[in-house]
């Protein structure tokens, strides 16, 4: 029953005849094609976000220079680039790639069904997402230029045209963000319903692979948190365009209200993108250490606990924003509490390696690289969650380095882990391992060279979003460190060409992968690579949990979930 709800007409063919180019690539309801659409859109947006980072880091390191490929950077350009770098990387890269692309590709394959429960809704989700990206980019070219009030868009700066000087750009920005949220609400419905209702016969809740659970929990978190921000975005649009005063103190409004609406969403959002990466990493470390995931149920309940706690920590972004100072004490306690489940997750992943048989393949390097660096993001969060030290660190480069040590491992390392791991399933061919490892090291080492120095700049008092530090005597003397970080960034961005080359070269000339190149257990590896429209020739039945590697009762070191014996 669950396999036959709301199917699009194109879907009933199951590959019996060729679909037209338009139906196959542009108007598809196939979850795998929609996943590819999300992934390629997200990767194109990542190039844009990376280019923005290059331009403003060059200005930061060499103020006043004509940046190759961009030209002179004005203060308005600088603010616009910083703002949209953050917006793009979180809403148009991390969300579409980690949640939507992996969610769409993996959930039907891993729970053993032929497509999402609502394929047309899925198609609509991507179309609205694409529209939101077009609106965002269109906003860069309107009179006055793109919005430059930081990705958090605090009013009154974001609400009043004479303050931000980009009245049209800021409305386009808010509209794009609101549309993007609608797209993910639609997508999230599919992730939750498909995982709960369309599982293969025999697949009990504890038999669901962790990565599917993480995307489901992330979707629930997103749905529960995004409502207030969509409301806030509409209020901000009204303040900008029709003269309401929700955030205007002169009209009885309050600017700090926006901060609550934004961060009530914004903090759970961190876990919305973190959880899928934690799931991807769990899959990879089990396969490449040939080990069962350590304490599956503990992992699952820890994730639920993290999700619930994530709704109680938002005001740690606002300790010094003018909220009642007594509130900071409550939020210090909840914020430090959330370090407990996150530490537990990392401990469990490390425990999974214990007595394993580890192959350092490219996906495994990315997965282990995630654990090693995300830990830095985690421990530096304690300085900021503690209200007493946040007085000093708030709005410094320490904060910036901290969240790049969370978001870079989540969004970039996590994506590369997932893409290199599932590439054989997506395209039927293997990536080049040598190029993959070169790409890993040329990304991983420069990443640390960019952000470790920024921790120190923040510790030494450097505040954020400054066009040039020439006017600040206490900070200008550290210019050499800024230049070092910028050079590391340029090296890292250049190294991404290796990945692009490897990706496209392997599409044509990579060795044929076969259905299960890693001897993995989960269901996506039990169908052909790439899976045809409809996925499984015969829908599978599940007999056991997902991580039965190196089981003593079995000769092979893996035991597919659908293998009857």
């Amino acid at each position: 029953m669950a396999h036959a709800v709301d199917h699009a007409p194109a879907h009933d063919d199951h590959g019996h005849h060729e679909q037209s180019f338009f139906m196959k690539y542009m108007w598809s309801t196939d979850h795998k094609m929609i996943a590819m659409q999300y992934m390629f859109t997200g990767m194109l947006m990542a190039m844009l976000g990376g280019f923005f980072a290059y331009v403003f880091r060059m200005q930061n390191a060499f103020p006043g220079m004509a940046v190759p490929g961009f030209g002179l950077v004005t203060p308005a350009d600088y603010n616009m680039l910083v703002t949209n770098h953050g917006t793009i990387m979180i809403f148009w890269v991390a969300m579409p790639v980690l949640v939507a692309a992996f969610g769409n590709f993996l959930i039907p394959l891993m729970v053993g069904c032929d497509d999402m429960v609502f394929p047309k809704l899925n198609r609509l989700s991507y179309q609205i997402f694409l529209l939101s990206a077009i609106v965002l980019i269109a906003g860069f070219f309107v009179p006055g230029g793109g919005f430059g009030g930081a990705w958090t868009a605090y009013p009154p700066l974001s609400a009043v045209g004479v303050y931000n000087l980009t009245p049209m750009g800021s409305s386009f920005w808010v509209l794009a963000v609101a549309l993007e949220f609608v797209a993910f609400l639609l997508g999230g419905i599919n992730f939750i319903t498909t995982s709960m209702n369309s599982r293969a016969p025999g697949m009990k809740l504890y038999d669901i692979p962790i990565v599917v659970w993480t995307i489901v929990i992330a979707s629930v978190l997103f749905m529960c948190s995004v409502g207030p921000l969509i409301a806030g975005a509409i209020m901000l649009l009204f303040d900008q365009n029709i003269g309401t005063g929700f955030f205007n103190p002169a009209m009885g409004g309050d600017p700090v209200l926006w901060q609550h609406l934004f961060w009530f969403f914004g903090h759970p959002e961190v876990y919305v993108v973190l959880l899928p990466t934690l799931g991807i990493v769990a899959e990879i470390i089990c396969v490449f250490s040939r080990k069962k995931l350590f304490a599956y149920q503990t992992v699952l309940y820890t994730m639920f606990g993290t999700g619930i706690l994530s709704f109680t920590v938002w005001a740690h972004h606002q300790f010094i924003s003018g909220i009642d100072p007594r509130m900071a004490n409550v939020f210090t306690i909840t914020t430090l509490l959330i370090s407990v489940p996150i530490a537990e997750m990392l401990f469990v992943y490390i425990a999974t390696l214990y007595k394993g048989s580890i192959t350092l393949s490219t996906p495994m390097l990315w997965a282990l690289g995630f654990i090693a660096t995300f830990l830095i993001g985690g421990v530096t969060g304690i300085y900021l969650g503690t209200a007493g030290s946040d007085i000093y660190f708030h709005d410094t480069y320490f904060v910036l380095a901290h969240f790049h040590y969370t978001f870079f491992p989540i969004a970039i390392i996590g994506t590369y882990a997932g893409v290199t791991y599932w590439y054989p399933k997506m395209f039927g061919r293997m990536l080049d391992e040598t190029l993959g490892k070169i790409h890993f090291w040329l990304t991983f080492i420069p990443f640390n060279c960019i952000f470790i120095p920024l921790f120190f700049l923040g510790l030494w008092g450097e505040h954020r979003r400054i066009y040039s530090y020439e006017l600040f005597d206490e900070l200008w003397k550290y210019q050499g460190i800024r230049q070092f970080a910028t050079v590391a960034l340029v090296v890292m961005l250049a190294a991404q060409a290796i990945f692009i080359w490897n990706f496209f070269k392997s599409l044509w000339s990579g060795p044929i992968a076969g259905p299960n190149p890693y001897n993995a257990n989960t269901l996506e590896w039990q169908c052909p690579s790439p899976p045809p429209h409809g996925n499984f020739a015969e829908l599978p039945t599940v007999y056991r949990p997902p991580y039965e590697y190196s089981h003593p009762d079995r000769k092979e070191d893996f035991w597919p979930q659908n293998s009857p014996v």
């Binding site: 605090y154 503990t298 003018g322 007595k355 048989s357 282990l368 304690i382 590697y549």
Partner: protein, 232 residues
């Protein structure tokens, strides 16, 4: 002694050292976990590589003697968190939730696009009198004297930040936010705006002038509108 001052800045306020101590203790406590976790991670990666460990063990993680290795560190993390909360909250109470007993001089700090305006109480020690001294981008205070600042914003959010004092507070239009500060070392220090406030956000460096009592009185006499009128 400020053994935990990692900021490469002087610590001029009486709470600067307390904040440095929070940073220092957090570094010790989380540094411990960071090092232990990374060491175990890299040890396992090297020890259990395929060439050293051709066959993996079958461990569910529910065996009590193994699960202890997760649950005990888990409890220990919680204990460390309690320590950090206590250290952090004590400093927060002192810096942000307490004001010095009156009478102490007040100064008004006003953020606007893109400058800091300061209203000093002048020789009479009272704000909103004829001898208030108004300045732009230069704040003058006396050493070893507590002040209450009243922070306002004219247009958008700004953030009043003096790194050498470890002081920071957002300015919100429509509100007057009060807090306190003091300084124990004469000198000139930087004032920043730490909250993005438009295209001139980088153009708001102010200067904090900390002067001893004699110098400060001399400055007030030279700049007080009342004293200047009397002299003419």
């Amino acid at each position: 002694m400020d053994i935990f001052n990692f900021t490469r800045l002087p610590a001029i306020s009486s709470f600067a050292t307390s904040i440095d101590d929070v940073i220092g203790w957090v570094t010790v406590l989380v540094g411990f976990w960071f090092i232990v976790t990374e060491v175990v991670l890299f040890y396992f990666i090297l020890k259990y590589r395929k060439q050293n460990s051709p066959k993996a063990a079958y461990i569910t993680g529910e065996e009590p003697e193994l699960f202890r290795w997760i649950s005990r560190p888990h409890a220990a993390v919680l204990v460390f968190d309690v320590f950090i909360v206590v250290i952090g909250v004590r400093v927060w109470l002192d810096v942000k939730q307490t004001l010095p007993p009156e009478p102490v001089p007040h100064v008004r700090v006003i953020g606007q696009q893109w400058a800091w305006s300061f209203v000093h109480p002048g020789l009479d020690g009272q704000l909103d009198t004829a001898d208030d001294i108004k300045t732009v981008d230069d704040l003058h205070i006396q050493t070893n004297q507590q002040y209450i600042w009243e922070l306002e914003a004219r247009d958008v959010l700004h953030s009043f930040s003096i790194p050498a004092m470890r002081l920071k507070q957002d300015a919100v239009p429509g509100r007057v936010i009060k807090g306190w500060m003091d300084a124990n070392a004469a000198g000139v220090y930087e004032i920043q705006c730490a909250e993005i406030c438009g295209i001139g956000h980088g153009l708001m460096p102010g200067k904090l002038h900390v002067e001893d009592a004699a110098q400060h009185t001399a400055w007030m006499q030279a700049h007080s509108p009342v004293a200047r009128i009397a002299a003419n």
